[in-house]
């Protein structure tokens, strides 16, 4: 009973916090750039407004265009049940490990690119092609990083990684762990469309990737996609925070431990959000042709992580 309640709470948490997280990052960024910026609650208002608007679908669009927002949102909701946000061995751990989580994330990316191509507009196709270039380069890196993490912990099961890292905290200092973190962080930037790869705050046609694919969406479809991409950021943040720095995650389901874990999770998310905002303020956007360089560095980090966890004993 307590466990299913926990799962429901995790899912609710991901749904409820993620728009606020995006709003918070925007707010911190605005402050860093000397603007007052919209309130962190603005994404919630945007979502409410979008859900109330009518949907306009191009006559050229097929069922893929209509089904993609639901697939994207659904896959992120399932992932939020599997990521250890608050407590470590989750009942849904048996549902799938880190590999499943990553490929569920990529399933959403895949359908979004298809949906970008579907109405046959120029921007959609351009965005889809760019997104596929980035995803194709990010995927080997993230798979290797997972492998490095899994070899270090002896399992790719999310709950097990957290439990084993907590039982041997010195391992967080090992190069395999840190390199896998660096690699996953770069992949996070690429996959969630953050600054050195894609600028989330612009609709400039020459640079956009994510925005180009969802240009045709409106109304509740757009709301679902926006919500899903906020959840994607939330999921990546919590993966990075809880797999690599698992302190605070509750190992028992006592109210005190859960409350502490909740507080620590919020704190970690805030730390990640602020560092991302600082990073985005300081970094210029990379030219598209330099993105493969960044991702090859991420791949190299992951490769070194695997060799150092696998070969150094």
């Amino acid at each position: 009973m307590g466990k299913s309640l926990l799962e429901a709470f995790q899912c609710f948490l991901a749904l409820a916090i993620s728009p606020g997280l995006v709003g918070f990052i925007r707010w911190v960024k605005a402050r860093l750039q000397g603007r007052s910026g919209p309130s962190p609650l603005q994404p919630y208002r945007d979502l409410r407004k979008l859900f109330g608007k009518e949907v306009i679908v191009s006559t050229n669009a097929s069922w893929i265009f209509r089904v993609t927002p639901y697939i994207l949102f659904g896959s992120l909701t399932v992932i939020s049940l599997m990521v250890p946000l608050i407590a470590a061995p989750l009942p849904f751990d048996s549902l799938g490990d880190l590999v499943v989580v990553v490929y569920l994330l990529l399933l959403g990316t895949f359908f979004l690119s298809l949906a970008g191509l579907d109405p046959g507009t120029a921007f959609g196709g351009m965005g889809a092609s760019r997104e596929m270039t980035v995803a194709a380069l990010a995927e080997p890196a993230i798979m290797l990083a997972i492998f490095g993490l899994g070899v270090g912990a002896g399992s790719t099961n999310l709950g097990q990684i957290v439990v084993r890292t907590l039982s041997d905290p010195g391992r967080t200092l090992s190069p395999g762990h840190l390199l896998a973190f660096a690699s996953m962080f770069i992949v996070m930037l690429a996959e969630t469309g953050r600054l050195p790869v894609d600028n989330p705050a612009t609709h400039l046609e020459l640079t956009m990737i994510h925005e180009a694919m969802i240009l045709e969406y409106s109304g509740r479809y757009l709301a679902l996609i926006e919500w899903a991409s906020a959840m994607k950021l939330f999921v990546f943040f919590s993966l990075l925070a809880n797999l690599f720095f698992p302190w605070g995650v509750a190992l028992t389901l006592t109210p005190g431990a859960v409350a502490l874990a909740f507080g620590v999770l919020l704190l970690k998310l805030a730390v990640f959000a602020v560092s991302l905002a600082v990073l985005e303020t300081r970094l210029p956007k990379l030219r598209l042709f330099r993105v493969p360089e960044l991702l090859s560095v991420s791949f190299l980090f992951a490769l070194l992580a695997v060799t150092s966890s696998f070969l150094v004993r």
Binding site: S174, L179, L300, T307, L311
Partner: protein, 219 residues
């Protein structure tokens, strides 16, 4: 310092030395190369210090101090000055492009693990796990020297390689005798100064430090 903590810190320092070497491959401005080299030497000093604290060998403190003075402060400063005087700023068109260089660095690291296997098997020191990393630093330094056009970058590549050799000495034997170490330092310093003189001569004769232009010597 406990054995476990020593091994972890030592491996971390050695990995950072390797990473700073590889960082040179994916950046493309000469100031960044020099700074990466200075940072690499800094992590190298950290690696020596972990060994020094663990083994309580006073010579190693001295070695660490000399490496700091020479490779973190003195040589980078001279390099920066030389760079300003010859007016070189970015590495143009390396022989191998950036993504390929970075991936090759990964392959070189794997190769280092393969060739260092027998040496690791011979050693029973707690630092033996990092020996392949030192080999990897040597290979990466060699690769930088071979794949870049600018004479200044080639000097940096040589210095990276030298860092790798010195790291290998510290890891495999806890440091060679002090007199040998001093001789090596003098060698590096002299080699570096000679190369710097060459740098100015190349610049004076050809008007650029792009060594590709030196093909003209054949005619």
């Amino acid at each position: 310092m406990s054995l476990d903590l020593f091994m972890r810190l030592n491996t971390l320092a050695c990995s950072l030395v390797l990473l700073m070497g590889i960082a040179i491959l994916w950046r493309n401005s000469l100031p960044a190369y020099i700074d990466s080299f200075a940072r690499q030497s800094m992590f190298f000093v950290m690696g020596i210090l972990t060994v020094a604290v663990y083994t309580r060998a006073w010579e190693l403190y001295l070695v660490a101090f000399m490496v700091f003075a020479l490779k973190v402060v003195f040589i980078p400063r001279l390099l920066h000055r030389a760079r300003k005087q010859v007016g070189a700023d970015i590495e143009i068109r390396p022989f191998v492009n950036t993504p390929a260089s970075v991936l090759l660095a990964g392959i070189l690291t794997l190769l280092a693990y393969a060739v260092a296997q027998p040496i690791v098997a011979l050693s029973d020191l707690p630092t033996r796990g990092s020996i392949p990393l030192a080999f990897a630093v040597i290979f990466v330094g060699l690769f930088i020297t071979a794949s870049r056009r600018s004479a200044l970058t080639q000097i940096v590549g040589f210095l990276v390689m030298e860092n790798g050799i010195a790291l290998l000495a510290v890891l495999a034997t806890y440091g060679v005798p002090l007199i040998v170490e001093l001789g090596v330092f003098l060698d590096v310093l002299l080699g570096f100064l000679v190369m710097q003189v060459f740098l100015y001569r190349i610049r004076g004769t050809f008007g650029t430090i792009d060594v590709d232009g030196m093909r003209k010597l054949r005619h």
